[in-house]
Symmetry: C2
Subunit: 361 residues, 2 copies
């Protein structure tokens, strides 16, 4: 298998030349007669410029990299396709096409999360603890009880809520686990709480295992701040037999520029889907962040192709449920933070508004 | 201690308003009367807009974040200051000012690397194995012998050379360790070989320990592809008692845009220096990549302030040694890949050319 990458160059850049610079500079580099006896071996690592097309917005070059140059993970892929070259001038990675077996797969994904919840025929409804910082662990339990008993499927920590002395992660889990057990006993329903797992890589991995041992039934990871290498570790760890929700925090730092970095659809779609996430959050174009509907559609499709749950987020309200259903159909998680938590009638009423909207639609 | 961050907005953006959005949206978020009894606690997490200045290139807003919002590491810092907001539109993080005790410190840094080498009074000379991919482990040993006996201080793997079947990392180390021991025996000199450590986070950490157990006397890490959380783990691991060289691969994805992402000086200067790197590579403005001399100077100063060795790289040649000495003085590592390896007289002559240039200057 080769790895196929589309690079976009702004008007005025000699794309033919830059494509060759990438194909050689990001692989074997140059060599001279001293290495003539190794020429076959050197050439086996070279990338190949497949085509260069001039478009209205600039040029698009497609390059094939040998899979032998990388280690089957996301980090070595990023270094190979855009390591040094990311610093070479204006160029943006618009698409990465990987073999089906490249990377990791979700342990649970859409089908596994549906099985855990016992919900197969409708979108899932998710919310976020708000306010983001300032609540105690007991507050988390109180809020969770309101929304869980009202029918919510999933709740997650706010991404900026780490393991802080004011509300330690294990204490938040204990307060919420109690609610999970109550709901299960009373209704038979499972409610997931995606606990934000943080810390230096070694501790984060140990923290994740400890959370699962203590009853966490889902995890949240800020993949782009902590590293794809951390997500891949959690995804491959058998002790972590719960779904991992990938958060897009920091994605704009590498995706928001029109001329540099990588497309959102690459980072939040292709790479997340090949790194083992079970569900991926990303901005929805209906929402409170500016987002391109075409990028959103690409993310949705890349994720679903590998059984990963798409979670359009940020500014999701009950009023736009019909539009989401048109765009997404049933295999989607409706993630509403303030859309549920700041509901005028209270958080429980916010949850019921989403289920009413789903029934009407 | 507070965390002070400068955000730059392009002309036309209401910077006063955006600064308030950051100060609230990236911290507590909003709350209503239900949380009135927790108001003091919520307010303790709010960030504060210190000033907003309108400049020629747009506006600059300075915001103070409570250190209580984060966990003393880089990943939680990135989520707190630029997690969701990175996706909110055009804004660039131009500076981050952290308390002296924030994060990690290098185990060795400038003074420790100099002690290991026994070289105190001149810049260090470093090279990179070239061609990047396609050499065998034995080739590495052969090339290393040439440059090490010619007086080189440090060599590193190319950043795209991972743990590939064609040249496994442990075999490269074995071939080069032999040379390190020969040079030591013959001349008393220590030569460092920074071995590229790769893999998923759990394996990478174990690989790093294994490399050190097997005689690695330096490591190379592609920090931005693998994650700051991984660098911080290695930096804090007592078993890894060798210098860690941080490579800037992928930095352009988050730094190359004028309007989004973070300044190179933040990522390759401030954050690397507070994440425990012993030496940090970055493009030099003399070199083959486009780079702003002001950013370079800021990186140099941020690193040295925490005893971290600056390693200006990419296109460094013996001819520009006098200029580097003017800009850097003695505490610098001169890192020449092709500048040494593609020297017309061979790699050993390339090393000698650098030492000649240092003596003349």
């Amino acid at each position: 298998m080769t790895i196929e990458v589309d690079y976009q160059f702004p008007p005025g850049v000699d794309a033919e030349r830059q494509a060759k610079v990438i194909a050689v500079g990001q692989t074997a580099g140059t060599w001279d007669e001293r290495f003539a006896h190794r020429e076959a071996r050197l050439k086996s690592h070279l990338a190949e410029v497949v085509r260069v097309e001039t478009q209205e917005t600039g040029s698009l070059a497609t390059i094939h990299f040998p899979e032998a140059n990388v280690e089957g993970d996301i980090a070595s892929l990023l270094v190979a396709i855009f390591g040094k070259y990311s610093m070479a001038g204006a160029a943006k990675v618009m698409a990465v096409r990987l073999g089906e077996d490249y990377g990791s797969r979700p342990k649970l994904g859409i089908t596994g999360i549906r099985e855990r919840l016992g919900v197969f025929d409708r979108p899932l409804v998710m919310s976020i603890f708000k306010p983001a910082l300032g609540l105690t662990a007991a507050d988390h339990g109180t809020i969770f009880a309101q929304v869980a008993h009202a029918g919510l499927d999933i709740i997650k920590d706010d991404e900026i809520m780490g393991n802080l002395p004011a509300a330690p992660t294990l204490e938040r889990l204990a307060a919420c686990r109690k609610v999970i057990d109550e709901v299960k006993e009373k209704t038979g329903r499972t409610v997931l709480y995606a606990v934000n797992v943080t810390g230096r890589a070694d501790r984060l991995i140990e923290n994740a295992r400890e959370l699962v041992r203590n009853g966490a039934n889902a995890l949240l990871l800020n993949v782009l701040a902590y590293g794809f290498s951390v997500l891949e570790t959690l995804a491959r760890d058998r002790a972590i037999d719960v779904p991992i929700f990938a958060h897009p925090a920091f994605a704009g730092a590498m995706c928001a520029s029109p001329d540099t970095g990588l497309a959102y659809s690459v980072v939040l779609g292709t790479l997340m889907a090949h790194a083992g996430a079970d569900a991926v959050l990303y901005p929805a174009h209906y929402g409170s962040l500016p987002f391109d509907p075409l990028q959103e559609a690409k993310i949705r499709d890349s994720l679903r192709q590998r059984n990963v749950f798409p979670v359009p987020s940020a500014g999701i309200r009950a009023e736009i449920v019909p539009q989401i259903l048109t765009d997404y159909g049933s295999d989607v998680i409706l993630n509403a933070g303030t859309g549920i938590m700041d509901s005028p009638g209270g958080a429980a009423a916010g949850v019921r508004a989403f289920f009413n909207a789903l029934e009407c639609a």
